[in-house]
């Protein structure tokens, strides 16, 4: 095994081992130290992997290694990564030290257990993205529920039991259906005359799954949606998220927003699209409509929240609508935008959750009617708050913008009738401009609710809860530790905003591949011109006809 494989294994298993160790240490303070040291140390192999990754060959799975596990089921401990996985792994690893740092003063009881599970969660998340075996993916996907469940149930606020239970059961129920769907695909591929063996290798499955009939794909897609859509979450199966986010400890919220929701979108990208390409093509508009409803509906709900954390939680629903919209566009811009969204959303929303956490530690309330005007007391805090809010609004130059832009453009593009360019990889599904228009209102709504939040909490006259007592360990404004926690996220926001092309280049190959899969499955030849181009050639006589088409 090469060093890279060892690094990857370390990323998955070291947290688990350390988690056990943390559970055994005597001193609670040491739990924090060990967790911090581990999460920081894990950055080394992660960066090493980044360095060793061959980006010229980004769509093939690299650092592959597989260990037989349950041969009877074809289950192998098979890991590896393409560039999409690599980036998501980096995201997960990066968030580790941040959430550990952010928890230092926030968590005061049972810290061993807390840090142990936080660390274990790290490994599981890496496992999800590194899995090259369908069931290994599923196992890690499901396993992440447990640490999160514990973090919410044990360290959440008042309504934590209901929140954690709903979180677990909702996603668990959905993913049981997903398991059934995935197993069906595996079974189908095993029947394939060409392959004729039972395999859980994602690449092989992706290759053969497109042979399923449309009906089969439809059911498989429905099954996968049941799990992934809940995880994302897509309207109308989103209600667990605000609750979970609101009740979770800060670190939990950050991880939830930063990575765990991305498991759903990653599932969409990695499984729902390639394994049911025709069905996805067929039902993409329906999914996109749900995404758009989510964008608007959740956005408006944000606007009337009093609980600041709930506001940000609903904003996640709204934001991830864009991510799904990009996926349903089924074109290169859409997938790129969506992957970018997966990466960048964690930074801005994660940042907002941290901000709220820091505020909560000081004022012990999340009610925006009780605190306000914090800019005068906590200028540094307020600056970061405005910064992350703006990143979340999708201000160009910050991280929200490139992904939002690409997702919307892709929806616009994603209609043969509207897409004059007619290039391969461009038009994807049949969404069209109206999707972009309605989704675009999300931009306005995001501005409404985030500025509403910023206006209430940062600006105006200073207000504090009646029973406010200053936190013993914390200064009025952010301390150095907290600033250090926020800085990487802020840098990430700017970096993603100004250099999205780094990421776009990195994911370009896999994305083009995925688009090819969809196109091939739907009988679109590479380089085939869209009908639009023909119309352009004869613009004079067809213009009127076309006008009718475009609004269909």
């Amino acid at each position: 095994m090469s060093l890279e494989v060892w690094s990857l294994l370390a990323l998955i298993f070291l947290p688990a081992i350390v988690g056990v160790l943390i559970g055994l240490v005597k001193n609670e303070e040491n739990a924090y130290r060990i967790a911090l040291a581990t999460t920081l140390a894990l950055c080394v192999p992660a960066v090493g992997l980044l360095g060793a990754f061959d980006f010229s060959n980004a769509s093939t799975s690299q650092f592959e290694h597989s260990i037989p596990w349950v041969p009877g089921l074809g289950l192998e401990f098979s890991i590896g990564m393409d560039s999409v996985s690599l980036l998501l792994i980096l995201l997960s690893v990066l968030l580790g030290p941040i959430v550990v740092l952010a928890s230092k003063t926030a968590i005061t009881k049972d810290r061993r257990m807390y840090y142990a599970w936080l660390t274990v969660l790290q490994g599981a998340m890496v496992g999800v993205f590194a899995a090259q075996d369908l069931l290994l993916f599923y196992i890690c996907f499901e396993f992440t529920l447990l640490p999160m469940f514990i973090l919410i149930r044990k360290y959440g606020s008042t309504n934590r039991i209901a929140a954690s239970t709903k979180f677990f059961l909702y996603t668990f129920t959905g993913s049981m259906m997903t398991l059934a769907g995935l197993m069906y695909v595996v079974w189908f591929v095993a029947q394939d005359a060409q392959l004729g063996r039972w395999t859980l290798d994602i690449a092989a499955l992706t290759h053969y799954a497109g042979d399923m009939s449309l009906t089969e794909q439809g059911w498989v897609l429905a099954a996968m949606l049941a799990g992934f859509a809940v995880k994302v979450p897509l309207f109308p199966v989103h209600t667990w998220l605000p609750l979970a986010h609101t009740e979770a400890p800060t670190a939990g919220s950050v991880i939830l927003a930063g990575v765990l929701l991305k498991l759903g979108t990653y599932g969409f990208y990695r499984f729902a699209v390639p394994l049911a390409p025709e069905a996805f093509f067929e039902y993409a508009p329906a999914i996109a409509i749900l995404a758009i409803i989510g964008i608007i509906y959740a956005g408006l709900i944000c606007w009337v929240q009093d609980d600041i954390k709930k506001l940000v939680a609903y904003s996640s629903v709204s934001h991830l609508g864009f991510c799904i919209l990009g996926l349903t566009a089924l074109n290169v811009t859409g997938f790129s935008g969506s992957i970018l969204y997966m990466l960048s959303h964690g930074f801005s929303t994660g940042g907002l959750f941290l901000m709220i956490g820091f505020m909560y530690e000081r004022y012990h309330t999340r009610d925006m009617n009780e605190v306000g005007g914090l800019a005068s007391k906590m200028p540094v805090w307020a600056t970061f708050m405005v910064f992350f809010a703006m990143a979340s609004v999708g201000l160009p130059g910050l991280n929200g913008f490139p992904s939002e832009l690409l997702c919307l453009i892709s929806a616009f593009q994603s209609d043969a009738a509207w897409n004059a360019a007619g290039e391969p990889g461009a038009w994807g599904a049949s969404l069209g401009p109206w999707f972009a228009v309605f989704a675009g209102t999300g931009m306005v709504i995001a501005a409404m609710y985030l500025l509403y939040m910023v206006g209430k909490i940062c600006f105006g006259a200073y207000k504090e809860p009646a029973d406010h007592h200053p936190h013993d360990e914390l200064p009025t404004d952010l301390n150095t530790r907290e600033i250090i926690t926020l800085t990487p996220l802020a840098i990430g926001c700017v970096l993603f905003g100004l250099q999205p092309t780094l990421l776009l280049d990195a994911v370009s190959d896999p994305v083009n591949n995925t688009v090819r899969i969809v196109e091939r499955a739907n009988g679109i030849e590479p380089g085939e011109a869209s009908p639009r181009l023909i119309i352009n050639e004869h613009a004079d006589d067809q213009a009127n006809d076309h006008g009718g088409d475009s609004h269909d």
């Binding site: 037989p68 596990w69 349950v70 041969p71 009877g72 089921l73 074809g74 289950l75 069931l135 599923y138 196992i139 890690c140 499901e142 396993f143 447990l146 469940f149 514990i150 149930r153 044990k154 039991i161 239970t165 677990f168 059961l169 668990f172 129920t173 049981m176 259906m177 398991l179 059934a180 197993m183 069906y184 595996v186 079974w187 095993a190 039972w198 059911w219």
Partner: protein, 528 residues
């Protein structure tokens, strides 16, 4: 005859041990009395190895014997550990305090003997190829457990459990016996292979079908399938935890083996394009499976007694496993993923290990007054107060939930893939939804034991003085982890055991066997 004998060595070892423990258990010398479980253990170990070397048999399931008996012996060992101290506790205390030993008061001998009888019966079930044999083996498995339930605790509730168990058990036995009679009537043979051959050549007559249905329904009492499940929670709750653990494994295994053998006679080759049981049986089992899972799981939601929860969960698990039975051995039988019977065999082992672990934790805890831990508050915060037990509990419960990547998940995966391969999508959806419902109460158990804050209770629980019980738990939890990682051999074993030779129509059979088989038998008889 020797051929039969060759596969019966495990039973023989167990039977010898049974005879021995009946004597040693009553022995005045304490050392010898306490040696009793070790005899059982030795026999079980011997049986395990004897089973390992069992040759293949002829018939529908030629390779089932070694696997089935090995898992029986292995889980039997765990249960044996768990049974320590169940009976004669007061008696031994009295002896410690200088009272003379009164063998009349001692239950030890018969208790272990019954346990061994029951395991013998279970193993015999695995070797059964005849209705008479099957009937006797099933009764041998069940009858001792009735007594064990009754004597396991010196409380009224164990008697109540025993009476319910016994009467309903007798009813169930009567039902499947009547089914057996009709099967015999329909085919003229009690030999399962011959019955299968008749069914294969002449089709299944209506009396045969009714007989089969009645037999299946009767046997489903053993696995606590709806609507034959009613006794389960009461009996589990009434019996001592170790005995409940045994009840969760032993009759269930017997029932599933019997179901496999019975259904093997009609085969899974019916339906359009094959791959299905005859529709009457499939419909029955389908409804039964769906109801069993659902009823088990939803009723478990309302319980506050951990043992009742586990009982209902045991019912639900029978429902899961029925999916494997319905799915059958798959079309080509070459792979685990589509062999539902292999999945069932694997799951039986999995379930045995997990459930023994969970019960072991309960069995290891008791209140000051000797009342055993049962209420959900009794396990509150045990991860703090008794870390080893607590973690055992958490691991085994999560595994029972089927939480990946624990052993239970791998077991459930087999059922999932077999069900899907056989095309029973709706049933798989029911299974999925039920797993989620089940998650609700398993999570409650995990949360109570591990996560939630603890308050001081008036009546805390303490560990029992029997070190073997936690040991059983730890071994189970260790097994869950170990076999999670190295489940390959067991999966392969289960697959091998589940390889099903579809019955050959009787006319062919006659040409081959009717002329050759009896001759060998006669020779064998002469040699004897």
């Amino acid at each position: 005859m020797t051929e039969k004998l060759a596969i019966l060595w495990p039973e023989i070892f167990l039977f010898i041990a049974t005879c021995l423990v009946m004597i040693t258990g009553q022995w005045p010398s304490r050392a010898i009395r306490q040696f009793t479980p070790w005899i059982c253990a030795t026999a079980l170990v011997l049986a395990f190895f004897a089973a390992m070397t069992s040759p293949a048999t002829q018939g529908m399931f030629p390779a089932i014997v070694p696997y089935a008996k090995m898992i029986i012996a292995a889980v039997g060992l765990l249960i044996l550990l768990l049974l320590s101290g169940t009976v004669d506790r007061q008696l031994e205390l009295d002896v410690d305090n200088g009272k003379p030993f009164q063998s009349i008061r001692s239950n030890r001998g018969e208790f272990y003997a019954f346990f061994m009888f029951s395991l013998t019966g279970l193993m015999l079930t695995a070797s059964a190829d005849d209705l008479i044999w099957l009937f006797l083996a099933l009764e041998l498995t069940s009858l001792p457990t009735y007594i064990m339930v009754a004597v396991s605790r010196e409380e009224d509730s164990s008697l109540e459990a025993a009476v319910k168990y016994f009467f309903l058990g007798a009813l169930g036995a009567a039902i499947f016996l009547y089914g057996f009679a009709m099967l015999y009537g329909a085919t003229g043979s009690t030999n399962l292979n011959e019955i299968a051959a008749v069914f294969a050549s002449d089709g299944i007559s209506s009396i045969g079908m009714i007989g089969m249905l009645i037999a299946v329904i009767g046997v489903s009492f053993k696995i606590a399938a709806v609507p034959m499940h009613f006794y389960t929670p009461d009996v589990y709750q009434g019996a001592a935890s170790p005995v409940s653990a045994m009840l969760a494994f032993v009759p269930k295994t017997a029932g599933f083996l019997a179901l496999m053998f019975l259904l093997g006679t009609v085969g899974w080759g019916s339906g359009l394009g094959g791959g299905h049981l005859p529709i009457e049986i499939e419909a029955t089992l389908w409804i039964m499976a769906a109801l069993t899972m659902t009823v088990g799981n939803i009723l478990a939601l309302l319980q506050s007694s951990v043992k009742r929860i586990l009982a209902y969960s045991s019912i639900a698990h029978s429902g899961y496993m029925l999916v494997g039975i319905i799915a059958g051995p798959g079309s080509d039988g070459g792979a685990f993923y589509q062999n539902g019977l292999a999945a069932v065999l694997f799951y039986l082992f999995t379930y045995g290990v997990m459930t023994v672990g969970t019960f072991a934790v309960l069995a290891s805890l008791e209140h000051r007054n000797g009342r055993e831990a049962d209420h959900i508050d009794d396990i509150r915060g045990i991860c703090k107060s008794h870390p080893v037990l607590g973690w055992t509990f958490v691991i085994t419960v999560l595994s029972t939930l089927g939480f990946p990547p624990l052993l239970g998940f791998i077991g459930k995966l087999g059922l999932f893939s077999a069900g899907i391969s056989a095309g029973h999508y709706a049933l798989i959806v029911v299974l999925g939804i039920n797993s989620a419902i089940a998650a609700c109460y398993y999570l409650r158990l995990v949360a109570v034991a591990y996560i939630d804050d603890t308050e001081k209770t008036k009546d805390p629980v303490y560990t029992t003085p029997f070190i073997m019980r936690p040991l059983a738990g730890v071994l189970s939890a260790g097994g869950v982890i170990l076999f999670m990682v190295f489940s390959g051999p067991i999966v392969d074993g289960a697959l091998n055991a589940a390889s099903y030779v579809a019955p050959v129509p009787a006319d062919h059979h006659d040409e081959h066997h009717a002329e050759e088989e009896p001759r060998t038998d006669e020779v064998a008889l002469l040699e004897d």
